[in-house]
Structures are given as C-alpha cells and as structure tokens.
Assembly symmetry: C3
Homo-oligomer: 341 residues x 3
Amino acid sequence: MTDSRFYRREGPFSLARLAEISGGSLSDAAMAERMITDVAPLYRAGADDISFLDNRKYVQAFETCAAGACVVHPELAEMAPAGMGLIITPEPYRAYAVIAHAFYPQSRVVAEVSPHAVIDPTAKVGEGCRIEAGVVIGAGVEIGARCHICANAVLREGVVLGNDCTIGSNATISYAILGNKVWIHAGAAIGQDGFGFAMGPKGHLKVPQLGRVIIQDDVEIGANTTIDRGAGPDTVIGEGCRIDNLVQIGHNVELGRGCVLVAQVGVSGSTRLADFVVAGGQSGITGHLKIGAGARIGAQSGVMRDVPAGQTVIGSPAVPAKEHWRQIGMLERLAAKKHGA
Amino acid sequence: MTDSRFYRREGPFSLARLAEISGGSLSDAAMAERMITDVAPLYRAGADDISFLDNRKYVQAFETCAAGACVVHPELAEMAPAGMGLIITPEPYRAYAVIAHAFYPQSRVVAEVSPHAVIDPTAKVGEGCRIEAGVVIGAGVEIGARCHICANAVLREGVVLGNDCTIGSNATISYAILGNKVWIHAGAAIGQDGFGFAMGPKGHLKVPQLGRVIIQDDVEIGANTTIDRGAGPDTVIGEGCRIDNLVQIGHNVELGRGCVLVAQVGVSGSTRLADFVVAGGQSGITGHLKIGAGARIGAQSGVMRDVPAGQTVIGSPAVPAKEHWRQIGMLERLAAKKHGA
Amino acid sequence: MTDSRFYRREGPFSLARLAEISGGSLSDAAMAERMITDVAPLYRAGADDISFLDNRKYVQAFETCAAGACVVHPELAEMAPAGMGLIITPEPYRAYAVIAHAFYPQSRVVAEVSPHAVIDPTAKVGEGCRIEAGVVIGAGVEIGARCHICANAVLREGVVLGNDCTIGSNATISYAILGNKVWIHAGAAIGQDGFGFAMGPKGHLKVPQLGRVIIQDDVEIGANTTIDRGAGPDTVIGEGCRIDNLVQIGHNVELGRGCVLVAQVGVSGSTRLADFVVAGGQSGITGHLKIGAGARIGAQSGVMRDVPAGQTVIGSPAVPAKEHWRQIGMLERLAAKKHGA
C-alpha cells in the first residue's frame, strides 16, 4: 500500500480491464471480474494487489507470492502459485508500467503562480502553468502550457520551454531551448559554460562558450546532472532520452533519440551518440568520438575509440564485450596458476 | 587557530580534563594542570594547543611538533618530542574528536522562522526550529523540534523530519521520512523518481515510482548526493550511515546500520547492503545484489556479484582483495618480462 | 550565427585586426581588409565568419570549409581551401579564444541589488555588484566590487569574496574566502563539512571540521562540484585552477596554481597537487598523497601512490603511462593467442 501522504490512488479495476489496457492476455477467463485495488512488490502484495515478475532473480518470491494477480512472461507463468490471476505478456515490465499508471496517473498540473515567485515582466508564461514559490524567471523566458516549475528553480534569461515540462526544485536552466514533455529533476544544472580554455604554462585562457543546449521532446534528466551548453555548435539531447542522476555531458555533445545514460556517466565534449545507445553507470566516453546506433557500453567502461552500431563494449579502455571477458578470464586463470590455486 | 569569522571556541581545559572526557590516560601526571586553549594540526600546533597523531604518514611531523599536548596511540608515544603532554589511547582519532567537540561544541539551533521562508499553512513546524530565508515548505510537511532548515532548501509535500535534523542550503527533499539527527548537506536531492522505465525500440515508458525514502536516525548525507525514492518498496538508509558527497543511490536500495559510502559511489537499484559495509570512493555496485555485513569495497571497484559478510573486494569487476593484488602483480611481472625490464 | 536570445555580438573586425589582437600572422596581406562578422564552427562557417582548426580530427571539415577565414597551425595551413583567409599561429585555440572574446566580450556586470534578495544587515556588498532575486547572504559576509551573485545562490555567514566574482544560481558557499575573479557555476557546494568521523563498531563519531576553503584568484569551478572545507588545516584551490562539473575535493586538499580537473574527478582528503597538474575525467586520487608539478593523470585512473613531477600515470591502480600501455597490449595479445585469434 502506498503512503497516502504522497500518493492518491485510482481504481479498483477488474483483471479483465487491466489485461486490456496493458495488452496482455488473461490466463484464466474465470478471473476476469476479480477486482484489483493496488499495485505492490512481490514480497508485499496481498489478495487485492497486482504485482509483476520481470527479473528471474525474483522467481522464488513469485512462487510464494500472495498477490491476487501478477503480470508475467509466458515462460514463467507456470511457476505461479495456485489461484493467482495472471496477465501474460512478453513484456511484463512495460505492461506493469501501464497498469501502475492506471492506478497512479500522473497528477494534472494545478495552475497557480505563487506570489513568492519572481518573474521578469518580459517573460511569457503559458496557460495552466504552476510556478511555485522561490522560482526566479529571467528576462525573455518563454514557457509553454501546463508546465510545472518547482520551488526555487531558476530559469535564466532567454530560456524556452515547450508544453508540459517539469523543472525540479533548485534546478538551474540557462542558454537552453526545451521541447515538450521534458522533465528535469531537482538540482540539475543545464546550460552553463562548457569546460573550454586554451591551456598554457602561464595560465589558462577561457574560450567564450557561444552555443546552447537543445533538449528535444519527452526527455528525462536526473537530479544534479550537469549539461554544458555548446561552445559554438549546440549540445543536443535527442527525443526520448533518459538521463539518470549525476551524469555529466560536455559541450557540443549530441545524443540521438532514446539514449539511456545511467547514473554518473560522463560524456566528454563533441562526442556524438546515435539513437538508442545505452551507457552503464559510471562509464565515461572521451571527446570527439562517434558511438553508433544501439551500441551498449558497460558500467564503469572507458571508451576511447569510436564504437560501431550495435556493438557492446566493456572495460577501461573499453573493448568488445567478448574480448573483455576473455581478458578477464585469462587474467584469473594465470593468477590462479601462478599461485597453485 | 581557527578563523573567528566562522568558529567560536570554548575552553581552556586542563590536560587532566581532556584526558578524562576522551577516555585516554595522561602519560605524565605532572602535566595534569597544563592548560590547553585550542586544537590544531601537528604542523601548526603551538604550546597552548593539543593535536593528534593517527596516520603513521605523519610520524615525522609528530616528532618535530611544537604542540603542548597530543593524543597518540601507545605504540607511537615514545616518538614524542620532549616536554609534550600525551593523552594515550588505542583510538586517538576518536579521542581527538571528543576533545575537538569540547572546544567547538555543535552550536545550538537558535529558534527563528524567517519572514522570507514560505511555509504552507498545513505544515507543522516543531519547537525551537530555525527556518532560514528562501526555504519553501510544502503542504502537510511535519518537522520535529530543533531542526535547522538552511536558506533556499525545499521540503516538498508530505515530507516528515524527526528532531534535531539539519537540511543544507539548496537541498531538495521529497517523498521522504527522516528520523532524528539526520544531517543533509547542501544541494542534496532526496526522494525524486527512480530511473525506472520499460525500454523499447519505439521509446521508453516511464514506470510510476510509488515508494519513499526512509532515513533512520543519526545519518549524514553529503553535498549534492542523490537518493531516489523506491519504485514500490522504499529506499532505506539505516541508522548511523555516513554518505559522502556526490553519491548516487538508486531506487529500492537498502543500507543497513553504519554503512560508509565515500564520495562518488554509485549503488544501483534494489541492492542491499547489510550493516557496516564500507564502499571506497567512486566504487559502483550493480543492481539486485546483496552485500554482507562488514564487507569492504575498494575505491573505484565495480561489484557485479554478491559479496559475503566480512569480505574485502577490489577491482572492476571486483574480486576478493588477495586475488586482485595477485592479478595486478602478475600483470606487472609479465609486462616487465616481455620487455626485458 | 549565435542565438540573439542569449548573445550580443561586437564587430565586424578586419582580418588584419583579428591577426593583430590574437598574435597570429596573416597568410596573405591582400586579405587584410576582409571584414569578419562572427565566429563559427568549421562545418557551419560562411564567407563572413572566422573559424579555427585545432584538432587534427577535423582536417577534413577544414578542407571543405566555407569560412571566410580560419585560425590554423602553420603545419596545417596548406590544407586550407582556396580563397580562405588564414591567421597562422602555433597556438590556434588560444588565438581563437582571443578573437571570440573580441566578438563576444564578457558582459559588464550591471549593478543592481534585487529587492527579492535577503541580505543580512551586517553583510558588506561592494560597489557595482549585481545581486539577483532569491539570493540569501548571511551575517558578516563581505563581497568585493562588481560581483555577480545569481538567483537563489546562498552565501552563508562570514564568507568573503574578492572583486569580480560570479556565483552561479543555486550554489552554496560557506566557510570560504575567495580571491578575485573566481567563477563558481550553478549548484556547486563549497565549504560544507568534510567527511570526517572516527569509525567504530558501535557508530561513527563526527570529528568537528574547523578549517576553511581558500580559493585564490582566477579560479573556475564547475556546476554541482563539491569542495569540503578543511578539518583543521584549510582546503586550498590555487590561482588559475580550472575545475569541471561534478568534481569532489575532500578536506585539507591543496591544489597548486593552474591545475585542471576534468569532470567527475575525486580527490581524497589531505592530498596535495603541485602546480599545473592535469587530472582526466573520472579519475580518483586517494588521500594523503603528493602529486608533483605538471603530472598528468589519465581519465578514470586511480592514483594510490605519490606521482613525481612531470610524470603521466594511467590505470587503476595508476602506473606510469608506458607501463600501462605495455600491460594493456600484453593482455590483448595473450587473450588473442589463447583463443587462436
């Protein structure tokens, strides 16, 4: 059961309805009218809850689970305890997401501009926006409809937001043009100067940073993540990207559509990621590289060369995954042999 | 001497008194009445100061130190310069901490609610709190006694704080229940959505994040650290944990009591650390793992498997420490041989 | 062309003038009076723009570039397309920086104290400062002339700023003394408690942190970077240092002049870097080390031992660069041989 301090629930819904909206199929038509009142994790779900099994690590929890219903892959359905209602689908996590959205729809933004926000008279705020206390909005800013600007966020001069954006508390946005449905979490810093200077033994000379950050539609950017604006070209975050917390993106970087950067990733200046690249936590990519579409970069890897489309690389320096595991295996064997282990 | 802009000092105290409160023993009873007016580092301490020696790297500085007194381990006491008063204890750093607290007690929170804070009328603020300018406190928030909420911090709807908590400037707290004596430093972001979505080639579907962050008593969380709330279960930070700056903690993570996470550590979703686990700087732990009580993870390590209680692991991927050093040593020897070095 | 929402341009300038101010030489005197109106990247520059070639990766873009002029190294000048005006210099990036500053000079701070800033009556604000809305300035703070304190930044009690400093939005500065021309970007947290406590099985005892952060002249500190104050000694950032985003600097660390720390670097407590040390992205340096002048630390490296002046180290644990590449090469060969590749 979710905490009513923080969450308001819709429902209940019949299993048949949940199967329908999630695109899954009901394992037993007799259970179509079973009413479900909430979602819950496997270990905590009761007779009125629906849960899901996506990671095989949790099969045991599934087998002993008391949930009234569960979303599950066809291959694992037979492990279900007797009496559990099953919604069967090849994509249980996605189906669960749809169901959870039904119980907990994203709350509509309540239009309200706090008298404690400071909004420059030249800024334009669209219809239905919520601007909380302590927000500071600079000259010439343009905000689309139904945006939610959380307490103490700052939108500096000239920033543009599309519709339905959320800017978290204490985030700072400058030199940036955002599309629709962009969600920036608390404390993110977007648009500051890139790390550009001409190094020299007598001191480092700053290079003016003259570009912007362009964030396309439907992008989510994590808490305390930093994205520098372009040095002359723009820094571009493609449609549908998901960027986790504490990620660093240097100037002139371009991400294609649907890229996923896990927490604490760093992408150095002028590197380009094509569509749907996935970079694991704490991995780093040096500057001026090209990472092909669908490439996957292992956690903590250090990418120093271009990566072809579709390739998985791991290690620091990163090499193709097979080669990496071969090296790791060989190292283990040699070290064991040497010590007669 | 500390800077009077920032610090106010108590004292002086006699050496006998300092030995007593710190639980150490005085090496020379004749020095019991020597008066000490301040603490100071070895290289800077004078005749009226007390210093400490904890790290053997600084034995040389100890031998030439001008401090009137020093806290020291029995094994190193004989290296002391003539005339120095010694407080001898097997835990010099801990004893020094107690003594430093005597000279510089944590200042009592001065009760005051700034007229420049914005506090929702439904929020409850306990006795003796200090709420600084620019703080924004949302609907239904409950704050215990003697809390200090620093300028421009944000406590979003429904957040609960126990007694004696400190929330640093520009920190953002949401969807969180905090115990007593929790100290969150500037810029930390606690409680935002976890990185949860069903990936797909046509786009990534957000999964509603329905849990909370539970922070138990006596926890310290560093500047700009990020802790995501649970996806359905809660994210839990156990009593007495110490979390450094720029650490990332994913949704559903559970830390036991007294864990220590050094700066820039990342813990991926649903991983559980038992009590008193220590993770070195920049190390990462992948998701859905179990790290046993008292395990130690080397700096920059990448943990991909469960770690048994008490084990030390190092490397990326992390292996038991002995194995790691064996591999490193072998690699060095082979590379040297190959090149006739 | 830069976005007029964000940038205001000076000029035009003749090529002769640009050569003069940048210290380069004009390849063709006949082009001295060619008028240049803007700077632009190679791939986007037109007949009225000046661009630059610094990284050999972009020679191809240079060869087909339509820029009216370009700053280039003497060795690459001959690759220029016909008709392009050339400013030739051994330091093209530095010369470009000077030229870009001519077109886009740093805007003068417009003196203005927002009525929505909260400034303690005991604080002193110098002439010509701009203090934006939502800024909170504590008791006893001293701010020099022409400083720019951006919206929602916090300067806590006793902080001192020299002249011409910029403090980004949502940054928090405490227990710190800043020189002149210090630029701190959005969200940085400077001066909070270091990670100091005496560990123990029954709990960790906090050690009072009694030092400051001293930041010398002409330092730039990136967004969401964290710098802890000293524990007793000070944390010191030397003149001219450039620190990128999301960097962590522990208590008592000392950086010499002109050090460059790339994003996500971590420097543990009490380590000293001499002048002009460069640390690549995501590298880490353990505590109590000495890194010699001009040393270079590779990206993602983990430094566990002192590094002599001028040495380049790479790897985790870090070893001299040659040794590192030898190890990497041997590992690749052995793994390939083992598998008959």
